[in-house]
Symmetry: C2
Subunit: 324 residues, 2 copies
């Protein structure tokens, strides 16, 4: 179950002694907004828009508040207009029973495991590590770049906790749900990845999904080769503002005889882009948008790192955001 | 046909001598974006999001530019972070032939006409006035509040060019398309309104649509009476930021024993609000959102002025934004 540490929250607020407090929740935590608002003896303002990560902090929109509490994500140390309290929300589900159940799958593949997860399972990761060690594995948990708060923590845009230890491990074990993060790990490291879903207690080798994804992405890239007008979409979300990449890609595409235009927006959707009649788009924002949302668009949507595959034959690279 | 005065645009830009130029287009003009971008010898950045009016200027999002060109709307004199050039886009369709065709409908109703339209027909309004005068009518074209640039110009949120002359006229003649503006006029003035669509050359008395709308709105208000938790949605769009109204409504609802929470967002949609589980919403933003989009929401969505009808029996008032 998801746990919000309310005592810690109140303590942090007492330190700042604000009058107006902003609250921001990702989709899965919006239902907690009223409980939190009712608990606080401050004037409260809630950000109502979509929130996709610690890269997406509404400090500009709520800059009239004295501080902002951003729920559910571990801090990315960006520069904010007002003090921002990152209230991580952890899931207390025990990772040992699902590991115990699936141990034989791992044993077949080798003894050196790279262990990784998303922020909500971080407090349980130590137990998982201990259990795996006591079962005879060598467990490696990597340190990340400055974008990453916890050892072993992956983001959709940053797999540095894995790339930093890839030489030592036979394969990675990702604990969590959904294909996006573990596919990023396998494409960034070249190593096999096991996805273990702790809720349904099942383990899956991602090799098949990886092949499927690459096939799809190469088809999209192939289609983009015929495009003449490219829209380069830069996000106005603080931690997804990849203008440097957009300016670089603009030149790169113009060198290929293509036309390229830079667009800025917060909510990236097929509806808002349709009117511009571009032949293809490059998402200079969260890498997840191109990979996960392609089917919603009529036109090819590339990640930043896929652009170079339009003109060169080289290995596929998963898009990452390295710096802050 | 829609006309962009490119010479004027280039002249305005020469005066500012910018390096980076931002461009912003409402939906209907997005297809012109590339033509404009290609014409300009500056570094160009295009706002990609939805744009709903002169109240919705992306100067914050494009504040790294040296100026912003906002297309299609007449200026509302808000405070902007960078210089903003409002490039109105006019339709050159002649209003006299459709008036000629429908004159008998007007004659039956009286000689004193309040004449009004939206910004794209403003340059043609003089001809329409002359024709009506030469046909024996007394024509009144009202001045608006500071939000309104042109005599006779209505916005979806401001009908001051009509309320300022309502004592003198028998009825209003609105030239344009869609029911929203003319319904606003009839509900703000109590006068009958004729809608004349210059494209299909047809005239329509709005009394029937007015009755239909009121019936719908009273049903929504009735449903909102049972709501316990109200979400008051304040827009972060510059000219739709109605925080004062939200704070007032919060007290008003709390006095009725309801709970009320203030939300801030740019793109107001059922998807982003669903997670908060409110029983009803009040749109402290563009009045059009509640009236036009109610059917997209499962919960009652009220305008600012409809809130008082929860507790009082009084005449229905169309929501307006009076100041800047």
């Amino acid at each position: 179950m998801l746990q919000i540490d309310k005592e810690k929250l109140l303590e942090e607020l007492r330190k700042l002694n604000p009058k107006k407090v902003g609250l921001q929740f990702p989709e899965g935590l919006k239902s907690k907004a009223i409980e939190i608002a009712d608990m606080l003896d401050y004037e409260v303002f809630i950000y109502g828009g979509n929130t996709y990560g610690a890269c997406d902090v509404a400090d500009e929109e709520l800059s009239f508040c004295d501080c902002l509490i951003h729920f559910g994500h571990a801090e990315i140390p960006l520069k904010f207009k007002i003090p921002v309290i990152f209230m991580e929300v952890f899931d207390d589900i025990d990772l040992v029973p699902p590991l115990k159940k699936n141990l034989d799958h791992l044993e077949k593949k080798g003894k050196n495991i790279g262990l990784t997860t998303t922020v909500q399972h971080i407090p349980q990761l130590k137990n998982a590590e201990s259990f795996l060690k006591s079962s005879g594995f060598n467990v490696y948990i990597g340190k990340g770049t400055e974008r990453i708060k916890y050892d072993g923590q992956v983001l959709g845009c940053n797999f540095s906790v894995c790339t930093n230890i890839e030489d030592k491990v036979d394969y990675f074990l990702y604990i969590g749900t959904g294909y996006f993060h573990p596919l990023g790990i396998t494409l960034n490291t070249g190593k096999e990845v096991f996805l273990m879903d702790p809720y349904i207690k099942k383990i899956e080798n991602l090799e098949h999904e990886k092949t499927k994804l690459l096939k799809k992405r190469y088809a999209v890239i192939e289609k983009a080769k015929d495009a003449e007008k490219f829209g380069l979409i830069v996000s106005t979300r603080k931690g997804q503002y990849r203008m440097k990449e957009a300016l670089y890609i603009k030149k790169e595409l113009e060198n290929l005889g293509k036309k390229a235009y830079i667009f800025l927006t917060r909510e990236i959707s097929p509806e808002e882009l349709r009117g511009f009649n571009m032949d293809a788009y490059v998402i200079c924002a969260c890498p997840r948008i191109a990979i996960d949302d392609q089917s919603r668009y009529e036109k090819p949507i590339l990640t930043v790192s896929e652009v170079s595959l339009i003109s060169q034959t080289k290995e596929y690279e998963f898009d990452v955001i390295g710096g802050i």
